[in-house]
């Protein structure tokens, strides 16, 4: 299947802070990663990392939060960047299992907390390009 039409595209998903929809984020992550040509193993990594990021946001969200959170999948050549943006200052604890997993599964994880908003940035690039 042709993959040359996804060079600079972005897909955005808006989800309620509800555990029931984390599987929707995994399905989307899996589909986008597949379209970008990631290997089966890499797709599983991305799927798990996106799932853990959603879990982190849902667990950390203030009890009265009602706004949806946003997931953006940016496709740029061989690199996928996923931004997860939520209302509130979601502070991490030292041994946060979700974040440990994301760091191990993705190439990079950055968390920015500013103006009552938290954004998780994570990237993954094709490893196969190293071997061609």
């Amino acid at each position: 299947m042709a993959v040359n039409n996804v060079e600079q595209d972005c897909i955005q998903l808006s989800l309620p802070l509800n555990a029931a929809y984390v599987s929707a984020a995994r399905l989307t992550a899996s589909s986008v990663a597949n379209r970008m040509g990631f290997s089966t193993d890499e797709i599983e990594d991305i799927k798990a990392a996106v799932s853990e990021a959603c879990t982190f946001v849902i667990r950390k969200a203030p009890a009265n939060a009602s706004e949806n959170f946003l997931i953006q999948f940016h496709m740029s050549g061989d690199i996928m960047t996923v931004n997860i943006q939520a209302r509130g200052e979601l502070r991490q604890e030292a041994d946060e299992m979700s974040l440990i997993m994301i760091k191990a599964l993705m190439n990079q994880l950055t968390i920015e907390i500013e103006n009552d908003e938290t954004v998780l940035y994570m990237t993954k690039s094709h490893t196969k390009s190293l071997f061609i």
Binding site: A19, V22, D41, D45, C54, T55, I100, M101
Partner: protein
Amino acid sequence: MDYALDSIFDPDKKRWSVSIVGEVDIFNSADMKKSLTELINQKNTDMVLDCKYLDYIDSTALGALVGVLKHVKSYGGSIYLRNVKPSLSKLFKITNLDKVFLMEGEDDNGSK
């Protein structure tokens, strides 16, 4: 996508044999923990979790399994994880839980 547990008590080996099917995440991990805890409350024995049809497990589900394991260890029992897919065993390794659970492959019969 949801999950299911298929459990049976093996009277010969005197332990629970449970197949986990589907995806376990933040949505249903508490339910899984409750169901597994009910089993070991019925009979304080070892437990074999067959993960052949387990497609996904997240950090909350791993935490739930650790909770069940603590309970099992409190009476001197063990939990064996069998047929964990490579993509999921990677998650156990990342979190160092591969050293906490007894991981078995396809050919093991769990008799060790």
